[in-house]
């Protein structure tokens, strides 16, 4: 038909054979075990995304989302919709330590924003950014359910309570020494939480 506006055409969605599958043998086994927990494959979506977050090094790339969709036989868009709905699935690369500072009511009153500003200054990054050395990502989160010890910050699955700028400096020093990828570790913990002892690949 005439009158059609020519705008750059979109890339087409990948075919199954074009996917770059990266799940390790262990991950595949874990997913198989998870699938036995649910009546259908769709229900395993959240834990499967945790596996993907671990396997893809701390964040969900397009490939990761496509792989989960492929393995659960769901559409790509549906899995992406779920992955983007939940904030704990990272959509962009993150550092080894995700510094999640609470700025909800109690923390705010007790200086949560001061902690946040201090971190921004120390690390030279803004909210949602990652330090160039790939160590820290800074995030602002809602209530961490530890108001009695405000202000609070979560790193991986550890809470740091009653923070002051000095405590934060000391913590950063300490964290720099470690070489654990806490984001990947947290993802793994989420996966293991879903699996019974005997279902874990190392016990099979």
């Amino acid at each position: 038909m005439d009158g059609v506006i020519r705008i750059t055409e979109r890339p087409r969605p990948p075919r199954p054979e074009e996917l770059n599958l990266r799940f390790s043998e262990k991950a595949v086994k874990e997913l198989e075990a998870l699938l036995t927990h649910y009546p259908d494959k769709k229900s395993a979506l959240l834990p499967a995304l945790w596996i993907a977050q671990r396997e893809y090094g701390g964040h969900l790339t397009a490939d990761a989302i496509a792989e989960v969709a492929y393995r659960l036989q769901r559409s790509y868009a549906e899995v992406e919709g779920v992955a983007t709905f939940y904030t704990m699935y990272n959509k962009v690369p993150v550092g080894k330590y995700m510094l999640e500072v609470c700025t909800n009511l109690t923390c705010m009153l007790c200086g949560g924003y001061r902690i946040l500003e201090h971190l921004q200054q120390r690390l030279g990054i803004q909210l949602g950014e990652t330090t160039p050395d790939g160590m820290f990502t800074l995030a602002e989160v809602e209530c961490l359910n530890n108001c009695g010890d405000a202000p609070v910050m979560q790193v991986g699955d550890v809470y740091y309570r009653r923070l002051t700028p000095e405590k934060v400096d000391a913590l950063l020093e300490e964290l720099r020494k470690g070489d654990e990828h806490t984001v990947v570790k947290l993802a793994d913990a989420e996966v293991q939480m879903h699996l019974a002892e005997w279902e874990r690949p190392e016990n099979q």
């Binding site: 038909m1 009158g3 705008i7 055409e9 969605p13 559409s75 790509y76 992406e80 983007t84």
Partner: protein, 748 residues
């Protein structure tokens, strides 16, 4: 659970705004209110999708009638789209509370809506505009900055997405999940950022993508082909039927200044609900193609010379009399029933020939007659709603999504919504495989061996009572004894396990509906394949079930009509043999002519006769065999060899290059008529445009020739042609234009 057919619903009494009303139990309140013409504003609710209650626009106040006659009112308004009607339900749709509620909902929706209505394609036919007009606030209290998002984002060749206008009703997302089933759209992010989108902004490749444009209640999803080409108020809308395939989808054709600008679906619950495929919606523009024929032309050497219609008729008739009965005609599948009827009437009555056909497939025997004779049912036994009532749909040798897009859509919907199982046998990748329980990917040509293999397994799996009812089980057992699963695996490439599993599913399904397609029609042994399919139907007892049975799906738009109208060498309209004396007499007295008594040649026979000089004049009406015939070179040689070729068509087709006389015909948009779809539903289409140039509707050309050749009064309009058909063709007795109405009727 499959959706049972013809179940009488329980009626309950409800009361809306003080008016008592009886409705089927469980009917959604929003639908029940329509019975009283009470308007409940909606955004997210859609009649053919599951309700979700997302937009809160359809809130009503409800209560329950207590035994003592008092009404107990619910404390809060309820969403009428998710509320099923129960006995004693009392509803108010126009209270002061609701006026406030609706105004508030609309105020929230309009906070981020850009209100760029002046340049929005939806403007003028937009539910958001309309609801705001009737229920919304007249002024906005919002003075902050609105959300800004990409505009006119091209999702595909056909669909553009404007995220700013989106009100997150989820209709498009639910359509791709529930109806088309490919789930290509999903809501990404959440809260204020929530937006419907494809995976990683890739192309929206669904074959039914156009539907989301129509169901979008705002201008967020717009058509790229229609964009900025018209305003709704300067569009002229005409009812029509799709001419792209035999599914017979009901459409609206929207035109501006006599040019088609877009096609929308027209609701017909029995056929396409409110859906269309992209082929019918976007690719149907041949009526405005640059190679339209606009005047009769005669060949002078290599050149075409325009002539007057009267001269063209005279030339044609003189050539016919020169040919002395060596005349043959082939009709195309896009002709209306009226045109097809007049075509065969002209050739039989005036040109005294039975060399008439419409078939371009390899097998030109009579497969349908074979089926009807064995099963006592028409060769397409079922209708659309049977797809939802049966428990297994077996797609055999058909690229369903290409050949029958709407049947594909309804099958997929039946699978998603009612748990109807699907099974597919195809030599190449097939879209049905995506939701089929079993996929039998056989080697090309393996159709017969595959069914024999299935029959062999079924004899073991079917319960003894069934086999006893079948009666010929022992004969069949001997016949397919060598078609063991392993032998079938060798012959077809379908693994024995898959075959056994498929056979087991057939045996365990209470009913099965077979859709046989192109691979059967073009099979060298089509007759045997059909025989085997008939046996499969009989063995499983599905010819006795209303929701099961065998369907040989026609491939051309009005192929079914061509058959019914007697565009066959052997049969007069209504499928009665030309050799039958009584039938012939009936037609002879009705038409006032004598008719040829011997059977004519089928398409291939006509071509051979053209090559040998036995046919000297070939009349192609809307047929383009050089492209569409299964053996194009044969068709081409035949056209070259024939003395005089008349081509009557809408476009300058490939076959028209071989013509000696060209007669310009109108497409379906410029004429009136009916099409018969695969389920033998006869449906009317109306004239939307004036004929281009000097072109005439096909049936008018045949009627003119009838008048000139015989001096007999022809019918004066399409309605009269159909009246003649209803008198002479018993299955069409219920098909007068008045009886057909907007929604058509199934031929008897």
């Amino acid at each position: 659970m499959p959706k049972p057919k013809n179940v009488e619903p329980n009626l309950v009494t409800i009361e809306i705004n003080g008016i008592p009303l009886q409705v089927p139990e469980g009917e959604l309140l929003v639908e029940a209110a329509k019975r009283l013409d009470i308007d409940i504003p909606i955004f997210c609710y859609h009649k053919y999708m599951k309700p979700v209650g997302m937009c809160r626009m359809c809130l009503v106040e409800v209560g329950t009638k207590m035994p003592d006659g008092t009404v107990r009112k619910m404390p809060k308004p309820q969403a009428s789209c998710t509320l099923p009607c129960t006995e004693g339900l009392v509803v108010w749709t126009e209270t002061e509370q609701l006026v406030k509620d609706r105004r508030a909902v609309l105020e929230f929706l309009l906070i981020n809506h850009p209100l760029d209505c002046p340049i929005c394609d939806r403007g003028g036919e937009c539910p958001l505009q309309n609801n705001t007009q009737f229920y919304g606030p007249s002024t906005s209290r919002y003075i902050e900055i609105k959300r800004h998002l990409p505009k006119a984002f091209p999702l595909s060749k056909y669909v553009a997405l404007d995220l700013e206008r989106c009100i997150q009703c989820g209709r498009c997302v639910r359509f791709t999940e529930e109806v088309s089933g490919d789930a290509q759209l999903a809501f990404l992010f959440r809260g204020a950022q929530m937006q419907p989108h494809t995976f990683q902004l890739t192309e929206f490749t669904s074959r039914f993508s156009g539907n989301v444009i129509e169901i979008c209640p705002v201008g967020a999803l717009t058509s790229r082909t229609y964009r900025f080409r018209a305003r709704p108020w300067d569009i002229v809308t005409q009812k029509t039927i799709c001419s792209m395939c035999p599914n017979g989808c009901n459409l609206y054709l929207d035109s501006r200044s006599g040019k088609m600008v877009r096609i929308n679906a027209r609701e017909n619950p029995a056929v396409n609900e409110t859906w269309t495929c992209d082929k019918g919606k976007f690719e149907q523009s041949y009526m405005h193609a640059p190679n339209r024929l606009t005047q009769p032309m005669v060949r002078r050497g290599k050149e075409w010379e325009p002539i007057r219609w009267s001269d063209a008729y005279e030339l044609l008739l003189s050539k016919v009399s020169e040919a002395q009965g060596a005349v043959a005609g082939i009709a195309g599948h896009r002709l209306s029933n009226e045109a097809l009827y007049m075509f065969q009437k002209l050739l039989r009555g005036a040109f005294q020939t039975n060399h008439i056909d419409h078939r371009l497939t390899r097998y030109q025997g009579d497969l349908q007659a074979q089926v009807s004779a064995k099963l006592g049912k028409p060769a397409t036994a079922n209708e659309y709603r049977d797809l939802e009532a049966t428990s297994l749909v077996f797609v055999f040798g058909s690229d369903l999504v290409e050949e029958q897009p709407m049947v594909f859509l309804r099958t997929r919907k039946a699978h998603r919504q009612y748990g109807v199982n699907a099974m597919v046998a195809s030599p190449v990748p097939n879209a049905v495989e995506e939701f089929a329980t079993h996929s039998l990917r056989y080697q090309p040509g393996g159709e017969l061996a595959l069914i024999r293999g299935l029959l062999n397994c079924l004899l073991d799996f079917l319960p003894a009572e069934r086999l006893a009812e079948y009666r010929e089980a022992e004969w069949l057992r001997a016949l397919v004894a060598d078609a063991t699963p392993t032998a079938t695996q060798d012959a077809t490439g379908v693994s024995a396990d898959t075959l056994l599993a498929a056979a087991r599913q057939i045996a365990e399904s209470p009913s099965m509906l077979i859709l046989a397609g192109e691979k059967v029609w073009n099979h060298p042994n089509a007759s045997e394949v059909v025989e085997a399919l008939v046996t499969l139907t009989q063995l499983t007892g599905n010819h006795l079930r209303e929701e099961g049975g065998l369907n040989l799906m026609p491939l051309g738009t009005n192929e079914q009509g061509a058959r019914d109208m007697g565009v066959l060498p052997s049969h007069l309209p209504g499928y009665r043999s030309v050799a039958d004396e009584d039938t012939r007499t009936a037609f002879e007295s009705a038409w006032g002519v004598s008719l040829p008594t011997t059977e004519g040649l089928s398409t291939d026979g006509i071509y051979q006769a053209c090559l040998s000089g036995e046919v000297r004049l070939l009349y192609l009406a809307g047929a383009n065999p050089v492209v569409d015939h299964y053996d194009p070179t044969l068709a081409e040689r035949a056209l070259r060899a024939t003395d005089f070729v008349v081509v009557q068509d809408v476009l300058m087709t490939e076959s028209a290059q071989y013509a000696d006389l060209l007669l310009p015909a109108c497409p379906f948009t410029e004429s009136e008529g009916t099409y018969t779809n695969w389920e033998r539903r006869v449906q009317r289409f109306w004239r939307a445009h004036e004929p281009l140039g000097e072109s005439k509707p096909d049936w008018v050309i045949f009627a003119d020739l009838w008048l000139k050749a015989l001096g007999k009064v022809p019918p004066f309009n399409a309605r009269e042609v159909m009246q003649e058909i209803t008198r002479l063709v018993p299955p069409y007795a219920n098909c007068t234009y008045d009886q057909l109405g907007d929604q058509g009727a199934r031929a008897l």
